[in-house]
């Protein structure tokens, strides 16, 4: 299977505190990878390093076989960041304008948006069933609808891999259910590789096909999803009082 992302011996620290210690992680084509771990275990930092937002103090990242610093094909990557929906809700932008933004790099500086770009925006909105809202102001939508718009923005370039950092925070239960349904559709039907950081351990263990657990600044495990194995690992990370309840969305 094709390796899309390779994290090699990565270390990272904020001032004197080491957040990641020698982390190694590979993401393969078709993976639906869930990354869990307690607060401050370095999950979001790891995603940001993979996306070259943060620079590791040691180690390297390869994206589609290229060193991340030489990687230019950002259209292959979609990203829905943490608290994506906590933007300035007074920003006067329509759903269409927000989704089209991710095409700007492909369109190029000094070039206008054409009809074919608008069609790409429409298709991305169709995938998340938000095409009827294309002229609405983003700030006037509900949290769940906004989340869908940000997923559409991440999908507009037809990415091969989608990174999501705690995407269900602040979203109601119905919207969460819809969200996980959409992720399954993207992974199974559209063959998009997914790497998702989440606190929702119960759902993650139920939905994903690969599982990574961070704790004490290390990657404790990176495994295929197996409930028995995962329960033991989570007890190691979160303590013995932790009971894993699998609930289906």
């Amino acid at each position: 299977m094709k390796k899309l992302v390779s994290v090699k011996d990565v270390c990272f620290g904020y001032e004197n505190e080491l957040v990641l210690k020698n982390v190694n992680l590979d993401i393969y084509e078709g993976d639906y990878l869930g990354i869990v771990g307690p607060n401050g275990s370095g999950k979001s930092t790891l995603i940001k390093i993979m996306l070259n937002i943060l620079k590791p103090s040691k180690g390297s990242i390869e994206m589609f076989g290229k060193n991340i610093d030489d990687f230019r094909d950002w259209g292959k990557i979609g990203y829905v960041r943490q608290k994506a929906t906590s933007f300035n809700t007074g920003f006067p932008a329509t759903v269409e304008e927000i989704v089209a933004a991710n095409l700007f790099s492909r369109i190029g500086i000094f070039k206008p948006i054409t009809r074919s770009h608008r069609e790409m925006v429409y298709k991305a909105l169709e995938i998340v069933e938000m095409e009827k809202f294309n002229r609405k102001l983003i700030g006037n939508l509900s949290g769940g609808q906004q989340q869908k718009v940000f997923i559409a923005r991440a999908l507009v370039n037809s990415p091969e891999i989608l990174f999501l950092d705690e995407p269900t925070v602040g979203i109601d239960l119905d919207s969460q259910r819809e969200f996980y349904g959409l992720m399954e559709k993207l992974n199974k039907e559209m063959h998009i590789t997914i790497a998702m950081v989440s606190h929702d351990i119960g759902v993650i263990t139920e939905k994903v096909n690969r599982f990574a657990c961070m704790g004490d600044s290390r990657l404790i495990c990176h495994t295929n999803n197996s409930h028995l194995e995962i329960t033991d690992i989570l007890k190691e990370v979160y303590g013995d009082k932790m009971n894993l309840l699998i609930h289906r969305h």
Partner: protein
């Protein structure tokens, strides 16, 4: 009205006013949405020290103001990197430095006070042909820059991190943009005055945000409101012998209040 256009200074003032009426809100909308409204105040005070330095040294004041404000803009970018968690601190430091230099220079050469008055509050009588050439040339350049980079500036204003990951050269565009802000402020000084230039960048945008249904609409509407304020402000200040800057800004505030009132009425009905 036609009689007014017979005067060369009025033709220059109106022409310059129309250009800055496009420039200020066009730059201002990105500043407001990035919560950088105060940068206009900061750079305009530095531009004032540039004007003072120009008058003292006998160099063309607007050119000197341009150099000072561009250097200050680059200084803000550098300081923002040093104080990443306190972005507004960089703006406050440069603003203080600008006022400090201006006050020292003004006290050094007391005779420049009269010349500075026009720069502080705006004076349509003082727009010279040399100013006009600078405003027209650089103004057109800035408008073209914003038009060509409109979509990238929009994305950076909405989500800087997202724009970076999408492959947009955020650092380079930010650097260009801050230089453009400095240029816009310097060009607008003659008409609106140092003390009020940032108002023309902010108030028309504030009014347009009340009613706009898209980003494009907000940008266009803020330009329309600014033009309305500038052109009528110049005409009123001519007939009533008022400082043009104050008249223009007061008109834009009146338009803002009318828009807020109109929106309130529409929401109730």
């Amino acid at each position: 009205m036609l009689e007014l256009l017979q005067y060369g200074f009025m033709q220059r003032a109106l022409m310059a006013g129309i250009i800055i009426g496009i420039l200020c809100p066009l730059i201002g909308i990105f500043l407001v949405l990035r919560r950088m409204s105060l940068i206009g105040d900061s750079l305009s005070h530095v531009a004032l020290s540039g004007v003072a330095a120009g008058i003292v040294s006998g160099v063309y004041p607007l050119a000197m103001a341009l150099v000072f404000s561009v250097l200050a803009a680059l200084g803000i970018e550098q300081l923002r990197k040093k104080y990443e968690e306190y972005a507004e601190l960089a703006i406050a430091i440069i603003l203080s430095a600008g006022i400090g230099i201006a006050v020292v220079l003004i006290s050094y050469a007391k005779s420049i006070n009269v010349d500075l008055f026009g720069y502080l509050f705006g004076n349509i009588l003082t727009v010279r042909s040399s100013d006009m050439r600078l405003i027209t040339g650089l103004g057109i350049l800035i408008i073209m820059f914003v038009k060509l980079l409109y979509k990238e500036l929009f994305y950076i204003a909405f989500d800087e991190e997202g724009a970076r990951i999408a492959g947009i050269p955020v650092k380079r565009i930010n650097l260009f943009f801050i230089v453009i802000i400095a240029m816009t402020i310097t060009l607008s000084m003659r008409i609106v005055g140092v003390l009020l230039v940032s108002s023309l960048m902010v108030i028309p945008v504030a009014a347009s945000l009340q009613v706009a249904k898209s980003f494009k609409q907000a940008a266009l509407l803020s330009v329309v409101i600014a033009e309305l304020s500038v052109v009528s402000g110049i005409i009123i200040s001519y007939y009533m012998e008022l400082a043009s800057g104050g008249t223009i800004v007061l008109l834009s505030v009146i338009i803002l209040l009318l828009v807020i009132g109109f929106k309130g009425v529409m929401q109730k009905t």
